[in-house]
Amino acid sequence: MKCESPPLVTANSTPSIARFENVGLRYGLGPEVLQDVSFKLDPGSFHFLVGPSGAGKSSLLKLLYLAHRPTRGLVHLFGRDISTTPRDELPALRRSIGVVFQDYRLLDHLSTFDNVALPLRVAGIREPDIKRHVRELLAWVGLEKHMEARPPTLSGGQAQRVSIARAVIARPRLLLADEPTGNVDDRMGFRLMHLLEELNKLGTTVVVATHNVSMVKQLGHPVLKLDGGCLTVSPGANAGRQAMEAGGRA
């Protein structure tokens, strides 16, 4: 089956954070899990990524956070063509991307503090600056009392907040969240989503993969919908407001 993707609008002169053109992805010799996917993420935008299980949401996110290269098509991130970017230049691009994994992927042997500090240490930031920034952020996400706790001792909501803190500590330009509310109750889910919206207001481009339809409707952000590896883009109720905010920031 061939996807009927809408043509990618490229007239907008604003440099995009991410741009996909007819992207296809397959694992090994298997069928294509993504077919002719085309879209772009403007700076400061907020998108939901929805679709049934197995539709390719995680695969699309993996392409965005550079865990895979596309089998075909063009992926541009921060103005760089990923297919032609040398491998040793990818870490610099990854430092501009924060990822909140569905299963958190916290390092169990490290404390909450050290997990959140990881991206800063990787980037070679001085230890006094790391301490200051991590403490501030943990206080912001309400985990200042759990700085020395190990991930296995944290609740699902706490672990998710640690995961979010780790994703945003280095002030990424692009934040990707895979089911960030999947393992927490609705109340905590909305708190986490508001946290992501706060970051978005500070200029971070956000993509949230979710199954939570009510949340998507309630927050009204544009939706990237994947089904059978094909992508359709629909503007959300907030699309106009978002465009204005992005324009204002630009």
Binding site: Y65, H68, R95, L107, H109, L118, V122
Partner: protein
């Protein structure tokens, strides 16, 4: 040199707990091989420089002439030797010592029981080219039946054997080094598999391969240093014991077999060398393996 803080729980790996002991065992063997190499090299050099400058003149007893004739023949040979250019020192071996040398074969003897030859140790100048065959001809004219032995054939064979043993010790040392590197490669690869998830997280947060490799290299270097120190501590008493046993074997012709000070000092380098080898091997292994990831 080695950072204590690591993002990967490498010190929790079961294999890395055994690694220092594996390395200790290898360093123990390496220390024995290296000590053997140094000891044998020293022995060959001392033989080469010591015995090459030595000759032995043997004057058989003249049964018809009696003791007086033996003494005259001895004196004539001594005179000849003292006039020979390149001869630094001559020493007549006492009859008691000759009897001592014969005792293992002939049992307790008195000098009157058998006609004992007279032996003269001749020391030549280190760089003098004293031709044993020419000297033999001259001495034969002065004391018929006298023999000059410059130990050349025996010495050459002995040195050949020692050099072969040296090469063998070198090969053993090389094999131990390869085994060490192989062990570190295996342990590092296992670590990469065990910590694949954490490594992926580090990658995705923007870590360069070298950042991850540094953690493995630091850990391997520390294990190498620890194992090297343990191995050396175990090898030291063994070598001291072997040195004492070798000391008891020393005879007049055998040079000292104890490990010289420089040998002991060179053994101290082993833990550091082990640490550097382990660290570099781990780093190369990680860099090569991570290259397969995007």
């Amino acid at each position: 040199m080695f950072s204590r803080r690591t993002d990967l729980p490498l010190d929790k790996d079961p294999l890395s707990r055994f690694l220092p002991w594996l390395i200790a065992f290898m360093v123990f063997l390496a220390a024995l091989a290296q000590a053997g190499l140094i000891g044998l090299d020293g022995m060959a050099r001392r033989w080469d420089s010591g015995l090459a400058a030595m000759m032995t003149v043997q004057i058989p007893s003249d049964e018809d002439g009696g003791a007086d004739e033996d003494a005259r023949r001895l004196q004539r040979v001594l005179n000849l030797l003292s006039e020979t250019p390149g001869v630094r020192h001559v020493e007549v071996v006492g009859q008691d010592k000759v009897l001592d040398l014969l005792r293992p074969w002939l049992g307790d003897l008195e000098s009157a029981d058998v006609p004992l030859p007279r032996l003269i140790n001749v020391e030549t100048e280190p760089n003098a080219d004293v031709d044993a065959r020419v000297l033999q001809q001259k001495i034969s004219r002065t004391a018929p039946g006298a023999q000059v032995d410059d130990h050349a054939v025996w010495l050459a064979r002995l040195i050949d054997m020692v050099r072969t043993l040296e090469a063998l010790a070198g090969v053993v040392l090389l094999l131990i080094l390869m085994a060490l590197a192989g062990t570190v490669v295996f342990t590092t690869r296992t670590g990469l598999t065990v910590h694949h998830g954490a490594i992926e997280v580090l990658h995705l947060t923007g870590a360069h391969d070298s950042y991850i490799a540094k953690q493995f290299a630091g850990r391997a270097g520390l294990m190498g240093l620890k194992g090297g120190a343990i191995g050396l501590l175990l090898a030291a008493p063994t070598l001291l014991g072997l040195g004492q046993m070798a000391g008891r074997l020393e005879a007049g012709m055998l040079p000292g077999m104890a490990l010289p000070l420089v040998g002991w000092l060179s053994l101290l380098v082993l833990p550091a060398a082990t640490s550097v080898t382990a660290s570099l091997t781990a780093r190369i292994t990680v860099m090569r393996n991570l290259r397969r990831m995007i």
